[in-house]
Symmetry: C2
């Protein structure tokens, strides 16, 4: 950490020009700090004359909101960049391009996705993204299957497992997704109207805790594929034509279901949010229809492409056994529903929320939305073996009402 | 590898004295190379005057029988020593004590278990070890549970996972235990009378391959506990009073079932061997009774002690959920039966055999023994969900006949 200095809008231009020759010599610079996350500084540097720009992301050695009291392994910056480079290659560009990474400053300079929108923001403005389900399932199937023992040389895979051991970031997930929401206290953060509900529906439901414990140990032990580790709609840039997945700093070797489930959960939460926010009418119906189709398509296209790619790339001799790929996929899909449930719950009562639910302006509707979200999440966790098709999700999501 | 030299009986005394002050100054030395394995040189140096001795084990950078053509990661020597030291602490001395380890020579100097017998040899002489089941289940429960996420700080556990990534040794198991015996060719090695049998009963049984594929992926992905990785009766020293487990060079973070299952398989194979070797009579009945009880006790004591220790040491908040420890144990026991089956099969038709079966002198009985062994193994793999108690094993083992 000797050479580590936090960058500022004053130092950022010199820094970029010392690391890349991205900008022309006649550049006219405009800089802003655009980070809204907890763990990093994020800058955009733009050359307004030639209309080019880059993003610079620097890992901080502590959690930003804590003012320095909650230290955080800065090596995640190196993990994030290595994963972006690997995913760029595996997915043929479904992640931003990396121009430079600097191990002294834990700082990456990368492609500015200036003509994209953060998907969560876009969905909250009731936009739809017709190519999203197809592109995100390409990303998921390729990043997951191609880093697994099904495909990789097993010794090379083990070296990647080693490289991507990510204890501090995994601990965040283990605590905030798989533990605290199902217990009293900790860093849980919920509205007053949820306090009793969380106690009776979550903390006191031992059957639920048992299922979550199984999912938690799967998360901790099942080194199946190199995950992104945080595929919510705030980690995805979209527009009408393209999809890009950012921020893989939680990456590690874990269960494939964790990535797929997080995404499904965030689509469902936007669905519930839309029900609560928008008055009945065509606009609402269109957005609900879009979300319903997107959820269904994510599950079904993932399954369909997974089986297809498997046949093209499988190398493990035993994995070629008839019936094995279907068994393997089913296990991923079952746990996907479990993960989706955990994600929906932690976004309602845990440390980190989503704008979709929190910003519903009407108190009564917000309470109904949050409770409905939690109850559906419990159903997904407890009955996860039934959720192996898009149709299964479609059925329960369609039945959601806030009446 | 610059400073690496293979030791010989000529150089070994000076080597030991350069690394330890174990021997008295008036020592009278006697040296012998006693290694019979494939991967290491093993020496005993004895001071005949003061009646003290040590064992020196040096990792070779190739597989011994190959004459140098099959290279082997020499770092396993460091893994083995680190595991011995950790296991010594966790089990209160159920492994030999390490006096010195040398990273230049990949050479460990350790306690000589001179008043012990290799268990396989002892069992082949029809000896019984009344304290074995109790002591080996202490070893298994402590080494496995205490290195798991149930107990360890999760970040510390991940550092151990990283430290013990063991690609080359795992690949041996993945190929020789979980792949080749279920396929034609490879390094399989079987007697002529097994060639057709292996083809129809193993290579062509797709239902069996499917179950083995599941077990193989569990072996590769389930980083549950720090395993020994090769707990057969040739890795165990015993006498009437004590048990010591040696040779953990296959150690890595894997499924607990792998260690328990390998042991159970080797007890069953000695049972089948005894049936074939010994004529009916009291001696045979006593040995069969001992093996039957030992097999039953290993499973039942493992389960009993596992649940008891769990309550004493569990730290993970979700792992404390009622019902979780029983679910977790059942999963270990189910896969134990699957592993036992794979081990029994690979010892019959694969690259590495066991003396118990191979040395049955009568051709007809040996053929019957090997085929019986394979069929029982298939039953264990396919019906592994039924094998969660010692009684379940006792029942099928008691029914074995070679008529």
């Amino acid at each position: 950490m000797d050479k580590y200095v936090e960058l500022t809008t004053e130092t950022i231009v010199d820094y970029v020009n010392s690391k890349t020759d991205f900008f022309a010599s006649d550049a006219v610079y405009e800089c802003e700090e655009i980070g809204d996350g907890n763990l990093n500084l994020v800058f955009r540097v733009k050359d307004t004359k030639n209309n080019t720009s880059v993003i610079i992301k620097q890992a901080l050695p502590y959690v930003r909101v804590s003012g320095g009291d909650w230290p955080m392994d800065i090596n995640r910056g190196a993990i994030e960049t290595a994963v972006l480079e690997l995913h760029y290659e595996l997915t043929d560009g479904l992640v931003p391009k990396v121009y430079s990474f600097d191990r002294d400053m834990y700082c990456v300079i990368m492609e500015d996705l200036y003509d994209y929108t953060i998907m969560r923001t876009g969905l909250l403005e009731y936009n739809s993204y017709p190519k999203f389900a197809d592109q995100i399932t390409d990303y998921l199937v390729k990043t997951l299957l191609l880093t697994s023992d099904v495909v990789m040389d097993h010794k090379d895979k083990k070296e990647l497992v080693k490289k991507y051991i990510n204890p501090e970031l995994c601990e965040i997930t283990e605590q905030l997704v798989y533990t605290e929401p199902f217990r009293i206290g900790g860093r849980n953060d919920m509205e007053d109207f949820l306090v009793d509900f969380q106690k009776t529906e979550l903390a006191e439901d031992e059957e639920l805790s048992l299922e979550v414990a199984k999912l938690k140990f799967d998360f901790m032990n099942n080194a199946q594929a190199l995950l992104h580790g945080d595929v919510h709609t705030g980690s995805i840039f979209v527009n009408q034509e393209n999809t890009r997945v950012i921020d893989p700093e939680f990456a590690f070797y874990g269960p494939m279901a964790y990535d797929v489930g997080a995404l499904v959960a965030n689509l469902i939460m936007n669905y519930i949010s839309t029900l609560a926010w928008l008055p009945e009418g065509e606009k609402r119906q269109n957005h609900l229809d879009y979300l319903l189709t997107a959820t269904k398509d994510v599950v079904d296209l993932f399954a369909e492409k997974f089986l297809k790619l498997w046949d093209e790339v499988v190398t493990d001799e035993m994995a070629k056994t008839p019936g094995f790929k279907e068994w393997y996929l089913e296990d991923v899909l079952v746990n996907t529903a479990g993960v989706a449930g955990c994600e929906m719950i932690r976004r309602s009562v845990g440390f980190a929320h989503v704008k979709d639910l929190d910003s519903i302006p009407d108190d009564t509707l917000r309470e109904k939305a949050l409770k409905t979200n939690i109850l559906l999440a419990k159903h997904l966790i407890k009955n996860r073996h039934e959720f192996t098709t898009g149709a299964a999700y479609q059925k329960v999501v369609k039945e959601i009402t806030l009446d």
